[in-house]
């Protein structure tokens, strides 16, 4: 090893690549250490499906940091969008889908079938909600302090998603549209502070549109490729097939990493895009994080989400609308479902979010096949009977549910693949959403920073934590006061 690095980034997913590119742009000598043979992490096309491959992670983009897109010139490096503003489409068992798109009149018209009062209120609700969410960008977009309506923030911080929606709407159909978003991070929609999930989501911006959902051209892998190009162009070294075995410490300060193959790479700062648990319990030496913190981190998440991808020969009529589909009957039943999942059982009511990316970008598959990508919540992370035995039952339930809402689906399935809930994720808490970026990024070990989903207020593909973590790491390298 002749090369010397100032900084090392663990994990070559979108977050790790963003952190490395940002560091390299600032003139820091940085290397990305990726376990797999290719970069991209959960965005890489790693899941085999009927002769092609799809990513195992996120299926839409709704929180990608516009500053990362701008700073790393991602548009110039090939990031284009096939779908820019996917409306929410709630599939109902009565056959009348609720379509909430950006045009308030058309959204109101759709809602009026369920409730006239909700239809009248919807435009006002969205305007007020979006305005407040914009004021939260100081807190959620930058390492800054919130300057907006403190009382409203305190109120939301103590309000559950269910109470928030109950106050806003009267009909079950309207509330159920938000059921999937209400269960981000594995929290119960009845838990205090979960209404912040809506505010967080509404504060995001895609393609210049607040609260939009987008699908990149070429799929999620295109985003990862653009980020890898940016990192490479800025001078970051990317090392694939280099799993990190442990962190090296001198006293309580990070001094490098040791690879699984034995090589030790010294560095003054290390950024980890892994979860807090993996970073501090698995990679750091025992006890380095502190005894109480280790005990806290030892609690594994109980609730997660799974992904089912289907290769379809043809898309059923019900799914031929351009949007993201939400299948949830009632918001209240989500609370019971969450409790069932918490007890380690498969919930009777499942909440699904489905997209057909090939409707926006047919080039994703060869020979005109379609992809149906479905996320399902809430699920037990470690069910009693184990995922290998539970997965077939879950898939069967999901297919039955999809078939009910989109008749003809089952007959057109050419292939399927399934990703069980990840046990490595950190459990989300409401206080985590409102803590400072520095509190989420810094660790008890000096020079070690988190730059992945663990440092985001809400787990999502955003790359914002990576950008801010890189800035904090640069300040640390320059010896600025922390």
């Amino acid at each position: 090893m002749s090369e010397v690095f100032d900084a090392l980034v663990i994990g070559g997913g979108p977050n790790g690549l963003t952190a490395a590119a940002t560091l390299a742009q600032a003139g820091i000598r940085v290397a990305v250490l990726e376990t797999e043979a290719m970069t991209g992490g959960a965005c890489a096309n790693s899941l085999a499906l009927d002769g092609f491959a799809v990513p195992a992670g996120a299926q839409t983009l709704y929180a990608l940091d516009p500053r990362v897109v701008k700073n790393l010139k991602l548009v110039r490096r090939g990031l284009k969008f096939a779908g820019r503003d996917l409306p929410r489409i709630a599939l109902r068992s009565d056959g009348n889908p609720l379509v909430l798109d950006r045009d308030p009149h058309s959204a109101a018209r759709s809602i009026s079938a369920a409730s006239q009062r909700d239809a009248e209120r919807f435009a006002d609700f969205r305007r007020e909600h979006f305005a407040f969410a914009r004021s939260l960008r100081a807190l959620w977009w930058e390492d800054g302090t919130f300057g907006g309506d403190e009382d409203e923030l305190r109120r939301l911080g103590a309000t559950s998603a269910v109470a928030f929606l109950d106050a806003a709407f009267e009909s079950e159909a309207t509330k159920a549209v938000f059921a999937f978003d209400a269960m981000a991070g594995g929290l119960s929609p009845a838990a205090a502070g979960t209404s912040l999930l809506f505010a967080w989501r509404a504060s995001q911006e895609m393609c210049g549109l607040q609260g939009a959902v987008a699908i990149p051209r070429g799929g999620m892998a295109a985003l990862a490729e653009a980020l890898a190009t940016a990192a490479g162009a800025a001078g970051a070294e990317i090392r694939t097939g280099s799993p990190v075995a442990r962190l090296l410490l001198s006293g309580n300060t990070v001094s490098g990493v040791a690879l699984a193959l034995g090589e030790e790479i010294p560095a003054r700062v290390v950024l980890s895009s892994l979860s807090r648990r993996e970073t501090l319990l698995t990679l750091a030496p025992t006890g380095a994080v502190g005894f109480a913190a280790a005990k806290q981190l030892g609690r594994a998440p109980q609730i997660g989400e799974a992904k089912l991808v289907l290769a379809l020969r043809a898309v059923p009529a019900a799914l031929q609308l351009a949007g993201r589909f939400v299948i949830a009957e009632r918001l209240e039943s989500c609370i019971a479902a969450h409790a069932e999942a918490r007890a380690g059982r498969l919930p009777g009511d499942l909440v699904l979010e489905a997209v057909v990316p090939t409707m926006f970008d047919p080039s994703l598959t060869p020979s005109g096949a379609h992809i149906l990508s479905v996320l399902v919540r809430p699920l037990p992370v470690s069910p009693e009977e184990g995922w290998p035995r539970l997965a077939p039952r879950l898939i069967e339930n999901m297919l039955a549910l999809l078939e009910r809402h989109a008749p003809g689906l089952k007959a057109n399935i050419a292939g399927l693949n399934f990703v069980a809930p990840k046990p490595s994720r950190d459990p989300l808490t409401a206080s985590h959403m409102l803590s400072s970026w520095r509190a989420r990024i810094a660790t008890p070990i000096a020079g070690l920073f988190l730059c992945g989903e663990a440092a985001e207020p809400v787990p999502a593909l955003s790359c914002r934590a990576a950008r801010i973590a890189a800035a904090i790491a640069i300040a640390h390298l320059k010896g600025e006061v922390q």
């Binding site: 006293g251 309580n252 025992t286 006890g287 502190g290 005894f291 109480a292 913190a293 280790a294 005990k295 806290q296 008890p444």
Partner: protein
């Protein structure tokens, strides 16, 4: 509510407890005794039951690594049979406990403390795959305190050639016992079933030296006179994993923190500290945690306080600013006047070395 437990010496303690005053220490029922017994410890020797002190056995392949991370002083150089006194802190640097750790073997330690903290220690040890066991009830421990204690042990057939902070196993006329010098006197550890035999042998051997049983009050007095800070009596230990209070500095316990050592909660222990000092009162004892002032300005606060029969006055431990730590500084505690003095108030009543049968030169 769990019933109070009896120590292995309970039967003898009950006979000796002439005042019939009892107290609860760590869930054990013990005789309170009379303060004058502390005086006896300064002139002859006393025998006290310290079986109630929480003892945690820490063992496993990584026990050395764990103990070193747990305690505020480096135990890696500790040899089997040696002990040291240290603190353990929570993540933020708040003092959870103060105790003595003795190394029994390469992979085995025992941690002795006046206040138990098994849950915390066991949770932390689990990270290292190290087993922590509460062994408090697996042995009876007697403390033999006073200048004559060495002679008593010698008369009983136990050669007490131990250094302070040492621990040795002995085979004593058919019994397996351990002798240690971890506190003020000499401790004698034995199996619970042997406890009464050990008690009787020591009492019989001590007859010629006016050995008398002492209660917990006397032990408290001797401790405080020696300037030893005890959890519960002198401070409320941190019970939360992330609360920085009380810090070692705020308790004047900086001396038990090794700055170069890497331990849990180290980041919270930076900064200048307060000084532990003794306070002599002209009148009665102050309430615990009374603010000490000088010229109207707060300069510290008292910890535990009691009346010392040897000094014949009320004394207190206190943490004060270093400016007020000079012996003789006049202070006010509420409406009481007092002054600072150096610690310890009195030297620990250590056993006289066996060799000095004659008075030492100059006496």
């Amino acid at each position: 509510m769990t019933a109070l437990r009896a120590t292995p010496f309970f039967v003898r303690i009950a006979e000796a407890n002439k005042l019939n005053e009892w107290e609860n220490r760590n869930g054990f029922t013990l005789a309170s005794g009379d303060p004058s017994e502390a005086l006896a410890a300064r002139f002859g020797a006393v025998l006290a039951d310290v079986s109630w002190q929480a003892r945690a056995s820490i063992s496993g392949a990584r026990a050395g690594e764990f103990v070193s991370r747990l305690l505020t002083r480096d135990t890696s150089q500790l040899r089997p049979g040696d002990a040291l006194k240290a603190l353990w802190l929570n993540d933020a640097g708040g003092v959870r406990g103060i105790g003595t750790v003795a190394r029994l073997g390469p992979e085995s330690f025992v941690l002795i403390s006046a206040a138990e903290d098994f849950g915390w220690i066991a949770d932390a040890a689990a990270l290292y795959g190290v087993a922590v066991r509460d062994v408090t009830e697996e042995e009876g421990v007697l403390a033999l305190i006073g200048p004559a204690s060495g002679k008593v042990l010698a008369a009983a057939g136990l050669e007490a050639d131990l250094h302070p902070l040492a621990l040795r196993k002995y085979f004593w006329r058919g019994l397996d016992v351990t002798l240690s010098r971890l506190g003020g006197g000499t401790e004698l550890w034995c199996a619970p079933d042997d406890a009464l035999i050990v008690w009787d042998r020591i009492v019989k051997a001590g007859h010629a030296f006016a050995l008398c049983p002492a209660g917990q009050r006397a032990l408290d007095i001797l401790d405080l006179e020696s300037g030893i800070v005890q959890p519960g009596r002198d401070f409320a230990p941190a019970r939360d994993g992330f609360s920085p209070d009380p810090s070692p500095q705020s308790l004047g316990l900086d001396g038990l923190v090794d700055r170069d050592h890497i331990f849990n909660g180290r980041a919270g222990t930076a900064g200048p500290g307060k000084v532990l000092a003794g306070i002599l009162f002209d009148s009665e004892t102050p309430a615990p945690h009374t603010i000490l002032t000088r010229g109207g300005l707060a300069v510290g606060r008292t910890l535990g306080s009691l009346v010392s029969p040897a000094l014949r006055r009320a004394v207190a431990l206190a943490v004060v600013d270093s400016a007020a730590a000079a012996p003789g500084t006049a202070l006010t505690a509420g409406n009481l006047t007092c002054r600072t003095t150096a610690l310890p108030f009195l030297p620990t009543p250590a056993p006289l070395p066996p060799a000095t049968e004659d008075p030492p030169p100059g006496v």
